[in-house]
């Protein structure tokens, strides 16, 4: 099966959406991302990644109700799809497998406890 490639930023965004306790939409995801990574990220990059992940089928979205502070504009709430979860799991499994393959002495050398 052809695997869809996930970039590093896409992976993090996907994880943040998955880890959101409340309903995830643009601003929340953006804030979470900055908090979690400690990087300064532009909102446009987040939007572009969210839409792209949706196009690839890792996320799905639906529009919420109108809110006053947004000038009457609705929010788009994102949720991780089954394909998205599987992709995350596969990535994790791959990582674990790779970690396990590292010999013990080398593990110490790279500072892993």
């Amino acid at each position: 099966m052809k695997r869809t490639f996930l970039g590093e930023f896409e992976e993090i965004v996907l994880l943040v959406v998955a880890g959101c306790s409340e309903d995830a939409y643009g601003v929340i995801i953006w804030e979470q991302l900055q908090q979690q990574t400690g990087r300064s990220i532009t909102i446009s990059a987040v939007h572009a990644t969210l839409y792209r992940l949706e196009e690839k089928g890792f996320l799905s979205s639906q529009m919420g109700g109108a809110t006053a502070e947004r000038g009457g504009r609705r929010k788009r709430f994102f949720t991780v799809t089954a394909l998205g979860s599987r992709a995350l799991q596969e990535i994790q499994a791959l990582r674990d497998q790779l970690w396990k393959a590292i010999p013990q002495e080398k593990l110490q050398l790279i500072g892993h406890s």
């Binding site: 939409y25 643009g26 601003v27 953006w30 532009t42 909102i43 446009s44 990059a45 939007h47 572009a48 839409y51 792209r52 529009m63 809110t67 502070e69 947004r70 000038g71 009457g72 504009r73 609705r74 929010k75 788009r76």
Partner: protein, 898 residues
């Protein structure tokens, strides 16, 4: 709704975002931005929040956010290979189905496009004169305005000392000067010692700067020098630089080996040796001062000390000046004012002023007259030609529009089906404009195909003005642009009409928009025939004016007169011998020696006044040096006093014979003028006779004062030989010409025999007018032809459409004539309207054109009637050709298949 006090982000950034971002992403994305903005307003200042908002918006300007979402029912581009194949197939089927209309469209458009391209090339050529030199845009010709009692006289030439004075006093200027081009005899000696003699009429005297200023660098980038170079070529005072053409002629045995030709000796006028110091490529023809050889100006200066140092006269010397970069010509004109004051006497200084004329304007400015041996085309004339080109393309495009909208109903089913299965209006327009493009391209390919042939023919038949047209890259670009323009111009309206059909109506074959199309069609036919009628009237007017030129009573006899160029050796004995020997031939009636025929290129100007008038009057007269036979040969008439007698020639100075115009300008009558002493530049003498006015200038200008002197001072540049005629016809011309040539060769072995018939050379004075006439005639024919093609197409269509109606009418007893009238009437009505509109415009514009001529015809009413009848009858012939066929058709056939 936001209340007014509520902070909101910068409006323009918002607008930008809304315009740029695809609609399906816009709402939530903008909402997010708003939310962040509101938060930031509370956290930081309003200004900073606004700035951050703007900054964030700018990050969205990427293709990802711009890309619009595809609709649920995807519309594949109509430019997919399958569709293109379909469009092409349909297009060619349509073209094939309407063969007559396709032919008319392609043929008409080819004619229009070809004419347009030819005119474009011609105009480009005429505007390119002297633009090919390195510093052409900074180089000016110095022209002279000379104040006369009755106005300003404009000279393209200046006094000879001017160039050296500028060089001395204004060292930053680059000046060059020329004399000529003149006609001289050149001898060359070949390896065997044989002397070859040539008469060259494009010999230019020029200083060492001339070929540096006029370097033709943009036309010949590798440089014009084949041997020698601009720096060293003019070191010797008798240096001569030859063009390739003459070099090959003089040194045929050295052909191609130009370096070997340097240092060779040629002989000028059988006595002065010239050293060849350079060979240059033949300069292109689009230069105003055509030359074939350049002799050092020093040589001219040494041999013509009077002319070369005289500030008052004007003797065919031209001065060119190249300004340093960024110096304005007005400043230089001011400096010239100071300069001339220093060198000229007070009277000349007051009379003469110098002006700078860009060399690239010389060819299209008629004020100063053409340079020696060249011609001019006025800007108005070029504009006229350009409008002709546009007319022709318009007429052809209108045909296309008319024929296509007329036939639009044939396509209604196709349009209906296409629309029903999802074609948009835009796609249909694309399809129909594309079909027009196919037709225009086919027409364009035909045009380009015949273009080169046509140009060759044009160049060949117009060698008289040294035309040298050739297509270059810009012509292809122009052609491509023209085809696109025509396709759009002709295709746009029909495309709009056809693509506007309502699918249901179209499928039911009820076509809306037909009525509007019809009234527009009438309008276009009217415009076409307005233009055509205008061209016919113009052609008639120009033809009459040309006829007037050829046949106007000039006041002197021009028939049966042969002009020979005067010999170098003008010893009276020699001339008399020549005359006596010729007169022994019974076919020769008279022989006269003079400075020039009555209307001559050999114009000598002089000032004139009565001796009793103290001051200089600034009046210009023509001076002619003649002999006693001049009056009988040309049939001039004395109206007071007497003509010259043999005794006048023996005296050191003859009296003057003057013309009526001069008498009038002196304020005298012919009778009172006799015996008065008149002073001219060359001296003073008593007026012994007055001759009736004869035309001494070409008919574009009025008769000028003229003074005739009877003396042989080496200025007999022309010999006129009048032949005997029998009942107005010449007989045995070849034998007589041969006899004259033999006599010439015996008497003047050192000179070259050359003859022209006077009436023919006079006709050449109107060569530019003749060319305009030819152009008008050709283009008028083309335009009427294209317009009639269109009419033919429309009448064919109408006749086909009304086949059944005609059948029924015939069954009910209509006559053939009645049916032809029925079909023709609508069209003829339009043509009459066109004539009524176009007539006054034609009258006005042609009167304006006639203003260019001092002696002109008046436009008479019958021209308009005749042109109208012509237009109507040609149109009627075209229409009836098809209408009669329709009317003669057997009603059984046309009514059978119902």
């Amino acid at each position: 709704m936001l209340d007014k006090n509520h902070p909101h982000p910068p409006r323009w950034a918002d607008r930008l975002l809304e315009w740029f971002v695809a609609p399906h992403l816009r709402e939530d994305l903008q909402g997010d931005l708003y939310e962040i903005f509101q938060k930031r307003v509370e956290q930081v200042s309003l200004a900073r929040a606004k700035w951050e908002y703007t900054w964030a918006v700018l990050h969205y300007l990427t293709p990802y956010f711009f890309k619009r979402k595809q609709t649920e029912y995807p519309q594949p581009s109509f430019l997919t290979p399958v569709m293109i194949r379909n469009y092409l197939k349909i297009a060619f089927r349509q073209l094939w189905a309407g063969k007559i209309h396709t032919f008319i469209n392609i043929f008409g458009l080819s004619l229009g496009i070809t004419s347009c391209l030819i005119i474009y090339i011609f105009i480009r050529y005429e505007l390119s004169f002297d633009g090919a030199h390195s510093n052409a845009e900074r180089t000016y010709r110095i022209v002279e305005h000379s104040q006369k009692a009755d106005g300003i006289q404009y000279w393209p030439t200046t006094a000879y000392p001017l160039a050296e004075a500028i060089r001395r006093d204004m060292p930053t200027m680059n000046v060059t000067q020329t004399a000529g081009p003149l006609s001289r005899i050149i001898n060359s000696v070949d390896a065997q010692g044989n002397v070859h003699r040539f008469e060259e009429n494009r010999l230019l005297f020029a200083d060492e700067h001339y070929l540096q200023t006029f370097d033709f660098k943009k036309a010949i980038p590798e440089g014009i020098w084949l041997a020698g170079n601009a720096k060293t070529a003019f070191r010797q005072p008798n240096a001569v630089v030859l063009t390739q053409k003459l070099a090959e002629r003089y040194f045929a045995d050295q052909a191609g080996n130009y370096d070997k030709m340097l240092g060779k000796i040629l002989t000028l006028n059988n006595n002065a040796p010239l050293v060849v110091t350079g060979i240059i490529q033949n300069p292109p023809n689009n230069t105003n001062l055509l030359f074939e050889m350049v002799v050092n100006y020093q040589f001219f200066k040494t041999n013509n000390p009077y002319a070369a140092t005289n500030w008052s006269g004007n003797y065919q010397g031209t001065t060119y000046i190249t300004l340093p970069p960024k110096v304005s010509p007005q400043v230089v004109e001011q400096q010239l004012k100071v300069l001339k004051k220093k060198y000229m006497n007070e009277e000349d200084n007051r009379r003469i002023s110098y002006h700078l004329q860009p060399i690239t304007d010389i060819h299209t400015t008629t004020l100063y007259g053409a340079s020696q041996g060249s011609y001019m085309v006025s800007r108005e004339m070029l504009w006229g030609l350009a409008s002709l080109a546009i007319f022709l393309v318009l007429i052809a495009s209108f045909n296309f529009i008319n024929l296509t909208t007329a036939q639009a109903s044939r396509r209604s089913k196709e349009v209906g089906v296409r629309k029903a299965i999802g074609s948009t209006k835009f796609q249909l327009m694309g399809q129909f404009i594309g079909e027009t493009l196919i037709i225009a391209t086919i027409a364009g390919i035909f045009s380009l195909g015949i273009l080169s042939q046509l140009l060759q023919w044009l160049n060949h038949s117009l060698t008289i003005i040294n035309l040298d047209l050739h297509p270059d890259v810009t012509v292809w670009l122009f052609g491509a642009g023209l085809i696109l323009t025509v396709a759009f111009l002709a295709g746009f309206y029909p495309a709009v009409v056809v693509s506007d059909f309502q699918p249901i109506m179209a499928l039911k074959n009820v076509v809306s928009g037909q009525r509007e199309g019809f009234s527009l069609r009438q309008g276009l036919i009217i415009v076409q025939f307005c233009l055509t009628y205008f061209l016919i009237v113009s052609t008639f007017v120009v033809a009459q004016q040309m006829d007037f030129f050829q046949n106007k009573e000039l006041g002197f006899d021009k028939e049966a007169v042969i002009t020979l160029h005067g010999p170098r050796n003008q010893a009276p004995g020699k001339l008399d011998v020549f005359r006596q020997q010729l007169l022994q031939n019974s076919a020769i009636r008279e022989v006269s020696f003079s400075s020039g025929e009555p209307i001559t290129e050999n114009y000598y100007g002089t000032d004139f006044r009565l001796k009793s008038e103290a001051v200089k009057m600034n009046r210009q007269a023509e001076m002619k040096l003649v002999d006693t036979k001049y009056l009988p040969l040309f049939g001039l008439q004395t109206i007071a006093g007497r003509w010259f007698t043999e005794s006048d020639t023996v005296l050191s100075r003859s009296g003057f014979v003057v013309n009526e115009t001069m008498v009038k300008m002196l304020g005298l009558t012919p009778q009172t003028a006799i015996g008065k002493v008149v002073v001219i530049n060359e001296g003073e003498a008593v007026v012994v006779g007055v001759v009736k006015d004869f035309h001494n200038m070409s008919l574009q200008q009025s008769i000028t004062p003229c003074v005739l002197l009877c003396q042989n001072t080496g200025f007999y540049d022309r010999i006129h030989v009048q032949l005997q005629t029998q009942n107005g016809f010449l007989t045995a011309v070849p034998q007589t010409l041969n006899a004259i040539e033999q006599t010439w060769k015996r008497t003047f072995p050192q000179d070259i025999y050359q003859y022209t018939f006077l009436d023919e050379s006079l006709a050449k004075k109107y060569i530019v007018e003749q060319l305009i006439f030819d152009a008008f005639r050709i283009f008028a024919s083309i335009s009427i032809f294209i317009a009639c093609l269109g009419l033919f197409g429309l009448i064919t269509f109408t006749a086909n459409q009304r086949t059944k109606e005609i059948g029924v009418r015939k069954v009910l007893g209509a006559s053939v004539a009645g049916i032809v009238a029925l079909l023709s009437k609508d069209f003829l009505k339009l043509i009459v309207i066109a004539i009524v509109i176009s007539g006054p415009v034609a009258w006005y514009l042609m009167s304006q054109w006639l203003q260019n001529f001092e002696y002109r015809i008046t436009i008479e009413w019958w021209i308009f009637v005749l042109a109208g009848l012509l237009a109507i009858s040609i149109a009627f012939l075209t229409i009836s050709f098809r209408a009669i066929k329709a009317a003669l058709m057997n009603p059984v056939k046309s009514l059978r298949n119902e």
